[in-house]
Structures are given as C-alpha cells and as structure tokens.
Symmetry: C2
Subunit: 337 residues, 2 copies
C-alpha cells in the first residue's frame, strides 16, 4: 500500500481492485501463508476423506482487545474448538473480515498476528478468505467469520448420547471470558489478574482421544455458559443432570465480579473451557490428562447423570438445598464473542 | 417468541439462551430444514470424498433489497457460484448472521425465505450456522456470511491454466448488479426494468461439465467486474488478453447509468455473470449451452488469448484504437455485495 493510505483501512480496500489485492497480499497472505491459500482461485482445493465436521462462527466481540486475548485469537480458537468438540482434528479454516472504514492498519496487523499464532498452536491453516470494507458507522471496527472443516477422529460424541450414571466434568474454572470482557468494557480498575480463558482446546482433546477415553458428550461452554450446555444436554438426551454447586471451580476474581454485577458464574461465557459426559470409570483418568495437557489445573467432577427429573438440571447448594439450574434468559452480556 | 419481542430482533436473541434457541428453531431451522442441520451439535457431520472445494464470503450489501434480489439470495448464489467456478458441485453451506438490534423480524423472514428458494435451485443445503446480535448502531441492519464445500467434478480449472489461442467468453450482458445497487441506493426513479443479474450459476455450469467442454479458466465477475477477472487471468497465466469493446454485451439501461455516473460497465460488479477461457473449438458449443440453460441469451465471444503483451489486457474500441484495460482502482461502489 502507498504511504497515503497505509495507516487506516479505506473503502477502496474492499473494492475488488488493486488496493484490495495489495491488502490481501501484504497483510493476510503474509501472516497466513501456506500453499493452499495461495492458489488465487475462488475456492481452496482440499483432499478430505471419511467423516468430516463442518462449522461456522462470526465474532463481534467488544472490545476487540481484552485481558487474555483479542478477536483474532478468539476467532481461531472458537472455530477450532467447535471442531474439537465433535472429536474432529481441525484441518482447514476459512476467514472472512468485515472491516469498518478508518480501522487502524496497525490494529488489523496485531489481530492477524494473533490469528497466526493461534493457528500454529492447533496445527490448522487458513485456506480461503474474503474481505469486505463498510463505510464508517456501518460496523463497529471489525467482525471476523471463521468456518472450519476437520476429520472426525472419534465418532459417536453427541448431545444425544449421554447415559444415566455418567460423570459430568468441567475442564477448568468457569466464567473467565465473560468476566474479562465485562472488566474490559467497564474499564474496571480492579487490581485484578483476571484473564479470559480464551484458548484452543485441540491439544488436550487430542490427548483424550489418544488415551481412548470413552466420551459420550463434549461441549465448550461459550455463550450461555455451563448452564446452557447442561440444559441442552438434559433435553437432548432426555436425562436429568445433578450438579454440586460447591464442586464447580470458580476463581475468586470471577466470584467477586459476579457479586458486584449480579451475574451467576454458570451463566457467563467461556472460550476455552469444556464440559464432558463420560462413564464414571474414566473420570479420574480424564482429570489427570487435563492437568497434564490443558490449561486445566482446576478440572473437576461437578455432577452426574440421573434417570430422575428428565430434561432438567438440578443444582445442590453447599447447604443441601436443591433447585433447578435453568437455561439463561434475557440478555446477559452482548457481544461476548 | 412471545408477542412482546416478536417484531424486532433483540440483544437477547444473541445471548445463547432461550430466546436465541427460539429464533433459531422458529426462523432458521424452519426455512432451512434438513437432517444434517438438526443435529444440535457444534458442527455438522459430512461424508465427503475425493477433491473438495472450500470457500467463504461475507455479504454486506446495501440496501438489503434491490431489483432482482436481496442479501439472502446473494449470500446463497455468491457462495454456490464460487464453488461452481471451481468445477465443484455445491453440496453444503454454512450460514452465519450478524444482526443489528431492532432489525425487523418480518424482513429477516423474507431474507431467509429467499435463501431457502435459492438453496433449492442449486440442490444444496445449509448444514450449520451461527447467530450474533449487536447493539443498535454497531452494524447496518444485517450481514450474512456463507461458507461452502463441494465435490470437484471437473479438475484442472485454474486461473493459471489459460492458453494462448483460447477464446474468452462472457455468459451474458455485464454490469447489471452494480447498476441495480446504484439505482436502489440513489432511489433512481428511472422508468427502468433493470434488475441485478444475481443468480445461481450451478445449473449452467453443470451442463457445461456434462457436455465435456474443456474449460481452462472460469470465474464469476463480481467485485471489480470483467476488468478485474481479465487482469487477474493475464497476470496469473502470464498471457495477454485481447478484447473487442463492441463484442462485450451491455444493456442499454446499464450503458445509460454508466454515462450518467461516469462508470465503466466493465468495472461494475456482477453476481450471476461469468467469464470462460476455453479452446476456440468449443466456443460455439458453449454459447449454445448458455443460451439453453442459463440466463445467458446474450452470451458472447469477446476476445482471445495472445502471446503478446503478457500480463496485460488490451481492449480495441469500435474505431480500431487500442488501450490497456486496467485493474479497477479506487472505490467504485462500496457494499456492492
């Protein structure tokens, strides 16, 4: 790009002409380079075989940068995690940017660099893309869509496959992503070390599969948090789920923010935290693998699956009282991801 | 959804809880229903084999409705066409919505209905999706991303495969989509029957492949129009391309608008018009197939490939003068697609 327009993204960068070609070559291709991406065709050419998982996610998080990550890291980790949760090895991603006119090129480069870092961690690659620029005021900075395909390495993982007697495990302390976004948005000057859990889960999932753990269901607890996942599971598998409030790992920072704002940690979004339903016999082995390979030092068995109260999740408080843990309703935190 | 919030999209529709689940079930699943979409998992499960094409596109067109289509039709046709241009049968699409708070549910339903209609025309299906809602003012109504995968039926079609001596064919009159958007945006009260060429090209491509036409390169002329495609081709295959201005089909309405606004029709975007580079011997057969199966009654041989002026496109005017046809520069029409 010439010196004149090198500091911010202009409408001409989305026009399909020379400026767009320069932006793509100099920023996107440079960061994401691989032989498939560089084919200059309308679509990437892949060699896939067997069962393939396919998923999509658009990211609209605000602010774009937060403690523990940014929209770029989130966009790669989020789609990689959706594939990993299906027992699929993340292989190929697409990447589409919607950029507001006037967006800083330096911020774009920083975001693209985090994407590249996160791609390397999961051994996946971006093979096709798209760039749109909209006039000032028509978008809020930057939105990213990533879609992905991956080879299924473990079949049969399904929300419909949860069995009575299964253990429910959470991979780490919950609510960090929601809390980190809230903190960034409110410019909270807490002396807090709280960071988002935003992370690519493939490395630990790969180990769970390699260890031949029998996985009935697996899901990252994004929007709607732990509460949304457990409720979907109870409904889809027509089982009851019991959880012990005391066993759910929550950091002191997240607890504090929840008290301050009246949120429940189990409703808050996570971006690198997942829930498993597995036979009890595998539970301790799973906890050990999570401790060794994941950012999962707080992995915990939080409950079990029952034939009672089908379709419902029941939480037992530390004082022994029991209540339904419902699907979150209303608007918790917009633009969390 | 309850009566209270049934008229516009609310932030809670993107929260990951009950309202989002209702929106997805009642609008998206209803319109797009198929067994793969309904699996309730994080990703769709596909059975692919052989060579697969993978592509992505985000759509930010303004206005959302225009003569001859809307953002929904465009989002399906656009991604289907990217696959078709690779000689791939469009099989599976993902679909991700970014919706501005307050967007009319009735407009959303209308757009989703056009998507469903367009899906049926190409025999493809949406198998996974995502919904984000952003606060008022953070997006302009609605953006849609579609990504797609499809089975390659004809190998070797490539921008790098153009041969000296090839005929260059355009499938119909050019510039209609750009002109239709311009007309809609300027609220031009021309007594005009001009509509966008927005269309799914798979039916005609399928016939070209079935007829065993030897296709060297094929590309739909979207942003940047005919001029962008020909320049990319000349550069990628390191050949020269000669075109005859008089042979390029342009409707009187598009000509009129171009004169009024100072545009060149060959720079304007198309959304259902494609360019072919094929051996001369196949040229008349192709024109016949286009006339029979496409909205291509104005298909024309517009030029040929030469060993001279490598990397450049030369246009000959009706008066015999010759000039370079350059890659469009600057911002032509933002948010054309």
């Amino acid at each position: 790009m010439s010196e004149n327009n090198s500091k911010t993204v202009q409408l001409s960068h989305g026009g399909g002409g020379k400026e767009m070609s320069d932006l793509i070559q100099q920023i996107f291709f440079k960061a994401f380079k691989n032989p498939i991406l560089h084919n200059e065709e309308d679509a990437a050419l892949l060699h896939l075989s067997g069962e393939t998982a396919f998923t999509t996610d658009s990211f609209t998080v605000a602010p774009l940068f937060f403690a523990g990550g940014d929209i770029g890291k989130l966009a790669i980790a989020g789609t990689v995690n959706d594939l990993a949760m299906m027992g699929a090895e993340p292989q190929y991603l697409s990447c589409s940017f919607i950029i507001e006119e006037g967006f800083e090129i330096s911020a774009l480069k920083q975001i693209v660099a985090s994407m590249a870092t996160e791609l390397h961690k999961s051994g996946t690659r971006i093979v096709c893309g798209d760039t749109k620029v909209v006039p000032k005021g028509c978008a809020d900075g930057l939105f990213i869509n990533t879609s992905g395909v991956g080879r299924i390495l473990r079949k049969g993982i399904s929300v419909k496959n949860i069995q009575v007697g299964d253990a429910i495990i959470v991979s780490r302390d919950i609510g960090r992503h929601g809390a980190a976004i809230l903190m960034a948005r409110e410019s909270l000057a807490l002396e807090s070390t709280l960071t988002s859990d935003c992370a690519n889960l493939w490395p630990v999932i790969e180990q769970l599969i390699a260890a031949n753990i029998e996985i009935h269901a697996m899901r990252d607890a994004t929007r709607g948090g732990l509460a949304a996942v457990l409720n979907e599971w109870a409904a889809a598998s027509n089982v009851g789920i019991d959880v012990q409030e005391d066993d759910i790992p929550i950091s002191d920072e997240v607890k504090g923010l929840c008290e301050l704002y009246g949120f429940e940690a189990h409703d808050l979004a996570n971006e690198g935290t997942f829930i498993l339903a597995i036979p009890q016999a595998f539970a301790l082995g799973v906890i050990e693998i999570m401790a060794r390979y994941g950012q999962s030092e707080h992995a915990a068995i939080i409950g079990s699956v029952t034939a009672e109260h089908q379709g419902k999740v029941v939480i037992t408080t530390p004082w022994g009282s029991r209540r339904y843990l419902d699907l979150p309703q209303g608007e918790l935190l917009p633009r969390i991801c």
